[in-house]
């Protein structure tokens, strides 16, 4: 792949480190208010306020799960209909071939199975996983994100990004350290 120096910024972005969750929440809110959109936050445990502050788009996952469930239910019912009415009709205790009450339980199970698989696979797909390489790990201190530090990353591809001004903004928001993130 040819790299075009004009399109590709010199660094991936800027990573700010915070000591407390409150500082991170406030910084995330202010950064969003300042007009940055290519922003992500990293914390040792889930913090609901950070998700709000990031103004993440609503996940498409529920719709994927719904679609999976409907597909599974239809497939389960039609499979039974096809096998017991069309392909291999058998007289069982004089019951009609299309014995819908008997079909309900497998239909339900297939709905759950497909919905659950859609949830897992859809979650991976929307998360972009598996992702063997991410530039955030180029910052050595980033390992603390799974221990006791809170990080905020602003990507250089953000239209508002400016190496010096963005760094100043993050320092003003009480970041204890701001590091360049290499590609």
């Amino acid at each position: 792949m040819s790299s075009t120096p004009h399109a590709r910024p010199e660094i991936f972005g800027l990573m700010a480190e915070f000591h407390t969750a409150e500082e991170l929440i406030e910084a995330t809110q202010k950064v969003h208010a300042a007009g940055y959109h290519h922003v992500d936050a990293y914390t040792p445990y889930p913090i609901e306020e950070v998700s709000h502050a990031l103004h993440l788009k609503r996940s498409k996952l529920p719709m994927i799960v719904l679609g999976g469930g409907i597909t599974g239910g239809l497939a389960g019912y039609l499979l039974q209909y096809w096998s017991s009415v069309i392909e291999y009709p058998m007289n069982i205790g004089g019951r009609p071939f299309h014995s819908w009450p008997a079909f309900i339980v497998p239909t339900f199970e297939m709905t759950i199975l497909f919905a659950a698989l859609s949830a897992v696979l859809g979650m991976f797909a929307l998360n972009g996983l598996p992702e063997p390489y991410h530039p955030a790990f180029n910052v050595p201190r980033f390992a603390l994100a799974s221990r006791d530090r809170y990080f905020l990353l602003i990507e250089a591809r953000d239209p508002k990004f400016h190496a010096d001004e963005t760094r100043k903004l993050l320092l003003d928001l009480h970041a204890s350290e701001v590091s360049d993130v290499a590609h």
């Binding site: 409150e22 913090i47 719904l66 019951r95 009450p101 008997a102 339980v105």
Partner: protein, 402 residues
């Protein structure tokens, strides 16, 4: 992390948590509507005693289900301590405190045993099977057992209620441990008693028929009725001070999820019973469903499948709708109406050959009459305590629940 809202929490003043003045207007309205329906029901009693007792039984089982379901939801919350329960506890407790009145409301049924239960009629002497069952199915037995169930439920309710009232005065965290020691066995006793009650009150309407899941079906139905009533009452409270400041979308979301779960539980029990009896197709069992699916009753069964299960199920899948009290209130109202329709479908088709469609209106009058009087009693109980358990140790988290 404790959110800032929890750390800076200031316990609300119990005096500021009194029920809104509108409760008195609602009480009068409930008594007026209930009284009017009761008058209609009494006219029905003169014209058709049989229909009075059948419809009264259906209506009474519905509202007894709301009270008993509230008791068990309160006990479940005592054990599990979710935010949903802290915000709804006072409604559940007040509904459970109506249990002595619910027992009183059952008194008219004592005069209609022969109208209701074939095993109590003189003809039962010529029925070999009913003779074998007479040691259990006899009028004195039914009365004594019903008194025992209520003694047990009222004992659980009073013990828990006394501790809860004490917690309002005394923030002793040990009170919760004491409530748990009552609630844990209480849930098991409730389940056992409801199983027997389902046989006594409803299943023995057709004394030749039996279904082992019927008791569990009644448990699920009670839970569903109670959560629907909790939502209706909480939306009413949420529209007014002081609760408008405390009830959050998160509470309605949780209650909506519980109603969703109970809807599926009810459907699961109802369908399991149907599937097993349909598969077996045995003469002593299948008649119960034949009576309920042939003639016009099949159409009613379809209405129950669609509006007691399919529609609420699909609606409650949506997160936004569960979080919206304005919307949830319609689903909860539909649920209570469909509980009454389901009980109509459980009771009336059993009286084969004795149907008089001109009196079916009494199945609507009875739940309204008993419900109006019950609501009047319930609101009287609700007024007695602050609308939130002010000394509950989990109150800060529960109120910060978005």
């Amino acid at each position: 992390m404790k959110s800032a809202a929890v750390e800076t929490f200031r316990r609300p003043d119990p005096a500021a948590l009194a029920a809104p003045a509108a409760v008195d207007r609602l009480r009068l309205l409930a008594l007026g509507v209930g009284g009017a329906a009761a008058v209609a029901l009494l006219i029905g009693l003169v014209m058709q005693p049989g229909y009075f007792y059948r419809s009264y039984l259906a209506g009474w089982v519905l509202w007894a289900g709301v009270a008993l379901g509230s008791l068990v939801l309160a006990m479940l919350h005592t054990m599990t301590r979710g935010s949903w329960g802290v915000a709804g506890r006072r409604v559940l407790e007040a509904a459970a405190r109506t249990l002595p009145y619910v027992l009183l409301l059952a008194v008219p049924l004592a005069f209609g045993l022969q109208e209701l239960y074939p095993w109590s009629r003189p003809e039962a002497a010529h029925d070999h099977l009913l003779q074998k069952k007479a040691a259990y199915l006899n009028p004195a037995g039914l009365g004594i057992r019903t008194l025992i169930y209520f003694a047990l439920w009222i004992f659980l309710m009073m013990t828990l209620d006394r501790l809860s009232a004490r917690q309002d005065r005394d923030p002793d965290p040990d009170l919760i441990a004491r409530m748990k020691r009552i609630a844990a066995p209480g849930i098991a006793f409730w389940a056992l008693a409801v199983t027997f009650a389902a046989v006594d009150w409803l299943m023995s309407l057709d004394p030749h028929w039996f279904s082992t899941i019927y008791g569990v079906w009644l448990m699920g139905s009670q839970g569903l009725s109670a959560i629907a009533f909790l939502i209706l009452m909480s939306v009413w409270l949420w529209r007014r001070a002081p609760m408008d400041a405390y009830l959050r979308p998160g509470h309605f979301h949780d209650w909506g999820k519980l109603m969703f779960a109970f809807t599926m539980l009810w459907a699961y029990f109802s369908f399991s019973q149907f599937l097993i009896i349909w598969s077996g197709n045995l003469p002593e069992e299948i008649g119960w469903y034949l009576r309920r699916t042939t003639g016009g009753w099949g159409g009613l069964a379809l209405i129950i499948v669609l509006f007691h299960f399919a529609l609420p199920f699909l609606m409650l899948l949506s997160r936004d709708l569960k979080r919206s009290p304005r919307f949830l209130v319609y689903i909860a109202g539909l649920m209570l109406v469909m509980r009454a329709v389901d009980l109509f479908w459980q009771v009336e088709p059993g009286f084969e050959g004795r149907h008089q469609p001109g009196f079916y209106w009494m199945y609507a009058a009875a739940p309204v009459a008993i419900g109006g009087i019950w609501l009047w009693l319930f609101l009287g109980e609700l007024k007695k305590r602050p609308l939130l358990p002010v000394n509950d140790p989990y109150l800060p988290e529960a109120l910060a629940h978005e």
